[in-house]
């Protein structure tokens, strides 16, 4: 059991550790960069000339010893943050992540308030006149 857990942990840890070779690093970084001339396709996937230029630039910088963060920062310094396929987690862009969470929390709160209100709604007072009306209708239906 201990051996199985150790092997599983080793495999899991290996899966989480990022790309190793330069080519894998280039592919990984390019997969986070939007192809400049296409819509919603990464520079790693696209065959467009601009995507190839991005891959070449990443490759050149990887070989020059730059970190992933430095390379991504260079791309952002040229195209702006919308060149990233995943929005940044800081500044105004972080709203993309925060707003759905806020919306869900607000919706849950609204539902809770609505349920509470429905539960605590006071019973309707039924007058003698109303009872007589229902009685009459029931008798008419039976007849």
């Amino acid at each position: 059991m201990v051996l199985i857990l150790a092997v599983a942990f080793a495999i899991g840890a290996r899966g989480r550790s990022g790309p190793v070779t330069d080519a894998q690093r280039v592919k990984h970084i390019a997969s986070e960069i939007r192809c400049p001339t296409c819509r919603n396709q990464s520079a790693a996937e696209s065959d467009a000339a601009a995507a190839k230029a991005v891959r070449d630039e990443i490759d050149r910088r990887v070989r020059a010893g730059q970190s992933d963060g430095e390379i991504v920062a260079f791309m952002v310094s040229r195209y702006g943050s919308d060149i990233l396929l995943k929005p940044e987690g800081s500044g105004v862009a972080s709203l993309v992540w925060a707003l759905p969470v806020v919306a869900v929390v607000v919706a849950l709160f609204g539902l809770a308030v609505a349920f509470r209100r429905w539960r605590s709604r006071p019973g309707v007072d039924v007058s003698a006149e109303d009872r007589a009306l229902v009685e009459r209708e029931l008798q008419r239906e039976d007849a």
């Binding site: 400049p36 601009a50 195209y79 702006g80």
Partner: protein, 190 residues
Amino acid sequence: MSDVDLAVSRSRRHTARWAAISLGVVLLLFVAVLATRKSAADKQAESPLLGKQAPSLTGSGLDGSQVSLASMHGKWVVLNFMASWCVPCREEHPELVKFTQRHQVADDATVLGVIFDDTQPNVRRFFSELGGSWPVVDDPGGHTALDFGVRGPPESFLVDPNGFVVWKGIGQVNADGLDKLLRQGKARGA
């Protein structure tokens, strides 16, 4: 109809009226925003390069000579990314010709073309057909386009005489719009 039904119906009409008024106001604001936007000709596009020194640009010109942005220091430069297959580039070209002609005597401004995803022979034919005699740099690997954060032609940058990027436009430019930008830049003391 009972008093309760009447009250409910009145309340619903009231809500519907307010919903319609709110929707109308939002639509009016939307139309107002669209109607008051600047025309694309002199609309500034976002770029992290604005206010910064232009990246270095050197390449082979259509006549085989070496062309560089640095050699144009002291002049206003309209850096125009273009391609012969690009219809808006074809449409804006006469405006760039007009712009260079206006500044020929004063020699204070010029255009520098950069080929975007196209070949030199195609661009040579484009110029012989439509005119224009400014330098055009080849960008075979697309590295200059990447350095300037260009997504597709036509895109233009205005570089001031000190080599700073002061404006970026996506889409067609026109001579009047460029002259207006130049006047504004000169007024700011560039």
